[in-house]
C-alpha cells in the first residue's frame, strides 16, 4: 500500500520543535522516503503555539495534507487546537496530564525523559524518537541521524540526544500501540532537502549572483541567510542594509557596476522598494527582486502566507515600463525561476520581480530531480565596447529596444545614466520627441519579452472545468485536481508561473472556451482581475483563501465539487 502519513508536532516558539522535524525528515530521506514539511509560527520568539507538519510518502509529494495521522503535543494546547484534523485511527502523543479522549493515545513525559537523558531541551529528540518508533523505523538508522544532526555540537550534546532517542524508543516499546509498518531500509536518498529559501539562494549562485543586499523581513530573511551560508563556498558578498530603500539601491548600484545582484523582501519592505524599481527601469539596469509575500495590509500577519501582492507588483512604481513578474510553482522551480530571472533581467535590462510567499520559502521537501545549472543563465562577459569609444551611447535606439550595455570603468567608453528622462547618450532631456521615442524604446521590449514566457502548467486542460491558479499553490491545486478527477469530475488545471508579461495564447483560447474557477490566496481574486483585463475572460466562480494559512487541498476539492455540482 502507498505510504502517505502526516505527522504534526505542536509546541511553543523557542521549544525547538524544528529539531523534531529535522530528525524526522533526515531519517525519512535516508530511508528513501519523500516528504513535504510546513512550518506554522507566530510573530514571537518564545511561547505561543507553533507547529511543524510533515507529510511522508513513498512517492513525491507537493502539498501538505489536512488530515493528521500522528500528533505530538509538546505545549499542552496542540491537541485541543488540532483535534478536528485527526484521522479516525490517528495516534496522539502527549504529556501524562492530558486526556485526548476518543483517540489512540500515548502519554509521554517528554521533559522528564529528556531531563533523565541529561537536558530538558532533548524533549524534542524524545518526541522524534517516539514518532519514528511508531512509524517502524530502526533505532540504528535513527541513531546515525542523531549523530549527524548534532555532529557539529559538543560531544556531550550528542550523548544526551542519543539517550533521549533511546528513551523515546523504549517508551513506545513499552506500550501496546500498533503504529505503522513502513520499511526503513537505509538506502540512496530519493533526492535532496530544500526549502524555497535555499533553492532561491542556490539558484542565485548558479546564475552567478555576486552581491546580495537586504534588510531583515519575514519571510524573506531566510533567503539571505542561505545566501550568507553560500558565501562560504562561492564568491559572493551579502550586506545587511540600513533599510529596504538602501537595499534596492545598493543592488541597482552593484548591477550598474556589472555584477549580478539580488535583494529579497516582503510587505512593507517591498512598498519601500517601489521607487527604486523605477530607477532600475529607466536606467535600464537589470534588477532581480524577490517579494516573499505575507498577509497585510501594513504589518499584517508577519509570519504567515498569502498571495495579496499580485496587482501591486504588476504596477509598483510611478509611470509605465516593462517588467517581468515570475511566480515559481514549487521548491525546485524556485531554483530555476531565479536563474531565469537573472537571465531575463540582463537580457532585457528590466526589473524582474519574483513572487513567492511564506509558504513556499519555508516549506521544506525532498526534491527528487537533480537541480541543474541553466546554461543560458550563466552571466556573459561584458560586450566589446565600440572601436570609437566616444560613439558609445548607453541608451541607443534599437529595433528591439535593447541597447548595448557596458560597465563603468571597464573600457574607454563612458557609461552615463540618469533616472531623469534622457537622450541616448544618457544625459537628462526635456525634449518632447526624445521623450516619446524613449518611452517607445522601453516598451518596444515587450513583444520579445512575451516570447520568453513559459506557458501555464496545464493538466487535463481539455476538461469541462478548469481550475486557474498561480505561483506557490501549484502543489495543492494539482493534488486537488487529481482528487476531483478520481471522484469522476472532469476538472483540469491551468496554473500560471510566468505572470507578466502575459502571452495571449494558450490562455485566451483555453479560458474563453471552458468554464473555469479561480483559485487564489487573496480576498479579491487579483489574478482574475488581471486575466479579465488582459484576455477579456471571466471566471465562473472563485475559491479564495485569505486566512494566512497554506491553501488547503480538501477545501479546493469540496468547494470545487460544490460549485460544479459534483
Amino acid at each position: 500500500m502507498a505510504v502517505d502519513i502526516t505527522v504534526k508536532i505542536g509546541g511553543q516558539a523557542g521549544q525547538g520543535i524544528q529539531t523534531v522535524g529535522d530528525l524526522l525528515c533526515q531519517t525519512c530521506r535516508q530511508a528513501g522516503y519523500f516528504f513535504l514539511a510546513i512550518n506554522d509560527y507566530e510573530s514571537r520568539v518564545r511561547g505561543g503555539h507553533n507547529f511543524f507538519q510533515v507529510r511522508i510518502s513513498d512517492t513525491p509529494v507537493l502539498a501538505p495534507a489536512q488530515e493528521v495521522d500522528l500528533l505530538v503535543d509538546l505545549d499542552g494546547v496542540t491537541y485541543t487546537q488540532h483535534a478536528s484534523e485527526l484521522n479516525d485511527d490517528a495516534i496522539v502523543l502527549c504529556m501524562p496530564e492530558q486526556n485526548p479522549a476518543g483517540h489512540r493515545t500515548l502519554h509521554i513525559d517528554f521533559t522528564g525523559l529528556a531531563k533523565e537523558a541529561g537536558n530538558k531541551a532533548a524533549q524534542n529528540t524524545v518526541a522524534a524518537a517516539a514518532c519514528l518508533a511508531l512509524l517502524g523505523a530502526g533505532k540504528e538508522l535513527c541513531s546515525k541521524v542523531v549523530s549527524q544532526l548534532f555532529g557539529t555540537e559538543e560531544e556531550k550534546i550528542v550523548t544526551v540526544n542519543q539517550k533521549a532517542l533511546q528513551a523515546g524508543f523504549e517508551r513506545v516499546a513499552q506500550s501496546d500501540l500498533k503504529g505503522w509498518n513502513l520499511t526503513w531500509k537505509e538506502q540512496q536518498p530519493a533526492g535532496a532537502l530544500f526549502d524555497g529559501a535555499s533553492a532561491l539562494a542556490l539558484g542565485a549562485v548558479a546564475a552567478g549572483c555576486r552581491v546580495g543586499a537586504f534588510y531583515p523581513m519575514s519571510p524573506a530573511t531566510g533567503i539571505m541567510t542561505h545566501l550568507v551560508q553560500l558565501a562560504e563556498h562561492f564568491p559572493l558578498v551579502v550586506e545587511q542594509a540600513e533599510d529596504e530603500i538602501a537595499a534596492v539601491n545598493m543592488v541597482i548600484g552593484a548591477n550598474f557596476a556589472g555584477c549580478r545582484a539580488l535583494t529579497a523582501t516582503s510587505g512593507g519592505g517591498f512598498s519601500l522598494m517601489t521607487e527604486g524599481i523605477g530607477l532600475a527601469a529607466t536606467t535600464e539596469t537589470p534588477l532581480v527582486l524577490i517579494n516573499a509575500q505575507r498577509p497585510g495590509p501594513a504589518t499584517g500577519l508577519p509570519t504567515r502566507t498569502g498571495q495579496g501582492d499580485l496587482l501591486f507588483t504588476l504596477h509598483a512604481s510611478q509611470d509605465e515600463f516593462p517588467r517581468f513578474v515570475l511566480a515559481p510553482a514549487t521548491v525546485a522551480d524556485c531554483f530555476y525561476t531565479i536563474q531565469r530571472a537573472f537571465y531575463l533581467a540582463d537580457t532585457y535590462q528590466v526589473p524582474v520581480m519574483v513572487l513567492v510567499d511564506q509558504y513556499l520559502v519555508s516549506t521544506s521537501m525532498l526534491v527528487a530531480e537533480k537541480l541543474e545549472i541553466n546554461p543560458a543563465a550563466i552571466p556573459a562577459s561584458m560586450p566589446k565596447p565600440p572601436a570609437k569609444p566616444e560613439t558609445y551611447a548607453r541608451f541607443a535606439f534599437t529595433e528591439n529596444g535593447i541597447s548595448p550595455r557596458l560597465f563603468p570603468c571597464q573600457s574607454q567608453a563612458l557609461v552615463k545614466a540618469t533616472g531623469n528622462e534622457h537622450t541616448p547618450d544618457g544625459h537628462s532631456s526635456e525634449n518632447r520627441e526624445n521623450r516619446i521615442a524613449m518611452v517607445n524604446k522601453r516598451l518596444a521590449k515587450l513583444p520579445s519579452m512575451k516570447q520568453e514566457q513559459r506557458p501555464p502548467l496545464l493538466h487535463h486542460e481539455q476538461a469541462d472545468w478548469l481550475l486557474v491558479s498561480w505561483g506557490s499553490s501549484y502543489g495543492m491545486v494539482y493534488e486537488a485536481v487529481g482528487k476531483l478527477r478520481s471522484q469522476g469530475l472532469d476538472v483540469g488545471l491551468a496554473h500560471l508561473v510566468d505572470i507578466w508579461p502575459l502571452p495571449q495564447e494558450p490562455l485566451q483560447s483555453l479560458l474563453s472556451g471552458s468554464k473555469w474557477i479561480l483559485v487564489e490566496q487573496n480576498a479579491t481574486g487579483q489574478l482574475g482581475w488581471m486575466l479579465r483585463a488582459e484576455l477579456g475572460v471571466e471566471p465562473k466562480s472563485s475559491i479564495l483563501q485569505y486566512d494566512g494559512r497554506p491553501l488547503e487541498v480538501a477545501r479546493i476539492v469540496s468547494e470545487t465539487a460544490a460549485k460544479i455540482g459534483g
Binding site: 530521506r29 535516508q30 536518498p189 533526492g191 535532496a192 532537502l193 542556490l202 552567478g208 555576486r210 552581491v211 543586499a213 558565501a231 563556498h233 562561492f234 564568491p235 559572493l236 558578498v237 550586506e239 542594509a241 540600513e242 533599510d243 530603500i245 538602501a246 539601491n249 545598493m250 541597482i252 548600484g253 552593484a254 548591477n255 550598474f256 557596476a257 556589472g258 555584477c259 545582484a261 521607487e275 527604486g276 530607477l279 536606467t283 537533480k370 537541480l371 545549472i373 550563466i378 552571466p379 569609444p389 563603468p408 570603468c409 571597464q410 573600457s411 574607454q412 567608453a413 563612458l414 557609461v415 552615463k416 545614466a417 540618469t418 533616472g419 531623469n420 544618457g426 544625459h427 537628462s428
Partner: protein
C-alpha cells in the same frame, strides 16, 4: 596625460549664473587631474537636486540616481567592484534630508567612497524651501515664520558616528577644495567633505560674502586633525567663525579590508565556476 580639458562636457550647464557650484566643478576637475585619473577611470554617483546634476557637467562615467539615494547606489557599486574610484555628489537636502539614513549608515559601513555635499543651506532645485542646514529663523515660502528646527551640523554628526575623514570646503576657495578632494580620495575609507556653496537665487542670507567673512582654515588654528575632541568642538562651531579644511582624519581598516568575502578581489572579477556549483549540488544529493 590627463588634462582639465578631458573633463569638459558638451552638455549645457543648467545652473544659475553665479551659482556656488561653479566653484565646485573646477575644483573636482583639478583634483581628478592631479590624481591622474582619466574620465573613464572615474565613476560619479549623484542624487537629485542642483548638486545632483553635477555629473552631467563633467565628462565621465556617472549614474544620476534618485533623490537621497546616491550613497546607497554608490555603496552597491563598491560592493560589486571595490576597485572603482567613486565620488558622490549630493546636496544638503539630498544627503542630510531625504538621504539622512544612508548618510548615517554609509559612515558606519566605511566603504572607500568620497562624498561631496554641495551645502547651500537650501533646497535649490525645488525653489527655496529650508533644508536641514538652513539657519534658524530664515524665512522661506514654506517656513513663512522662520525655520524653527535645529540646524543639522554635518561634521559633528559624522564625527559622532566615528567617521575617519571629516572636512569642510568652500566653493569660493577652489584650490583648497581641490586639495581636500584629493586628500579625501586618497583616504582609504569613507570621506566626507561638506562644501559651503552659495545659492545666489534662493539663499540671500548665506552669500559668498557671508561665507568669505567667516571661513578660517583649520591649518591656521593650531588644530591637530587627530584630536577628536578638538575636531568636535570645531565641528559644532557655526556663526562668527566657520572652520574649513580637514577637521578630523584617522586611519582604520575600511569595509573591504574587514570583509573576508572581498579579500580575493573585487566581485566583478571573480570567475564563474560551474564545476564548483555542480559539485556543491551533487553533495546535497548524497547523505
Amino acid at each position: 596625460m590627463v588634462t582639465i580639458n578631458d573633463y569638459t562636457s558638451n552638455y549645457e550647464n543648467q545652473w544659475c549664473p553665479g551659482c556656488g557650484n561653479f566653484g565646485i566643478l573646477p575644483a573636482m576637475k583639478m583634483a581628478f587631474v592631479a590624481q591622474k585619473l582619466a574620465p573613464h577611470e572615474l565613476l560619479l554617483v549623484s542624487g537629485i537636486g542642483q548638486a545632483g546634476k553635477t555629473p552631467h557637467f563633467l565628462e565621465c562615467n556617472f549614474i544620476h540616481a534618485l533623490h537621497g539615494r546616491a550613497l546607497a547606489v554608490a555603496s552597491g557599486a563598491k560592493l560589486a567592484n571595490h576597485n572603482l574610484n567613486v565620488v558622490v555628489n549630493s546636496g544638503d537636502g539630498d544627503c542630510y534630508g531625504e538621504g539622512g539614513n544612508h548618510f548615517i549608515h554609509a559612515i558606519r559601513r566605511n566603504l572607500d567612497l568620497t562624498l561631496l555635499v554641495h551645502n547651500n543651506q537650501i533646497y535649490g532645485l525645488t525653489k527655496g524651501q529650508a533644508s536641514p542646514t538652513t539657519d534658524k529663523d530664515m524665512t522661506t515660502s514654506i517656513q513663512s515664520h522662520g525655520v524653527s528646527n535645529r540646524p543639522f551640523r554635518p561634521l559633528a554628526v559624522a564625527l559622532s558616528l566615528g567617521a575617519g575623514f571629516v572636512a569642510r570646503g568652500f566653493a569660493g576657495q577652489k584650490e583648497q577644495l581641490a586639495e581636500l578632494i584629493q586628500a579625501a580620495m586618497n583616504y582609504r575609507g569613507f570621506s566626507l567633505i561638506d562644501i559651503l556653496q552659495p545659492c545666489v537665487t534662493f539663499n540671500h542670507l548665506n552669500t559668498f560674502a557671508w561665507y568669505k567673512q567667516r571661513v578660517v582654515d583649520v591649518a591656521t588654528l593650531n588644530h591637530d586633525a587627530r584630536d577628536f575632541q578638538s575636531a568636535m568642538q570645531l565641528a559644532m562651531e557655526w556663526g562668527e567663525r566657520i572652520p574649513t579644511g580637514i577637521l578630523y582624519q584617522h586611519e582604520e581598516d575600511d569595509f573591504t579590508a574587514l570583509n573576508p568575502w572581498l579579500q580575493q578581489g573585487p566581485m566583478l572579477q571573480r570567475e564563474y565556476n560551474a564545476n564548483a556549483i555542480n559539485d556543491y549540488i551533487d553533495d546535497l544529493y548524497r547523505i
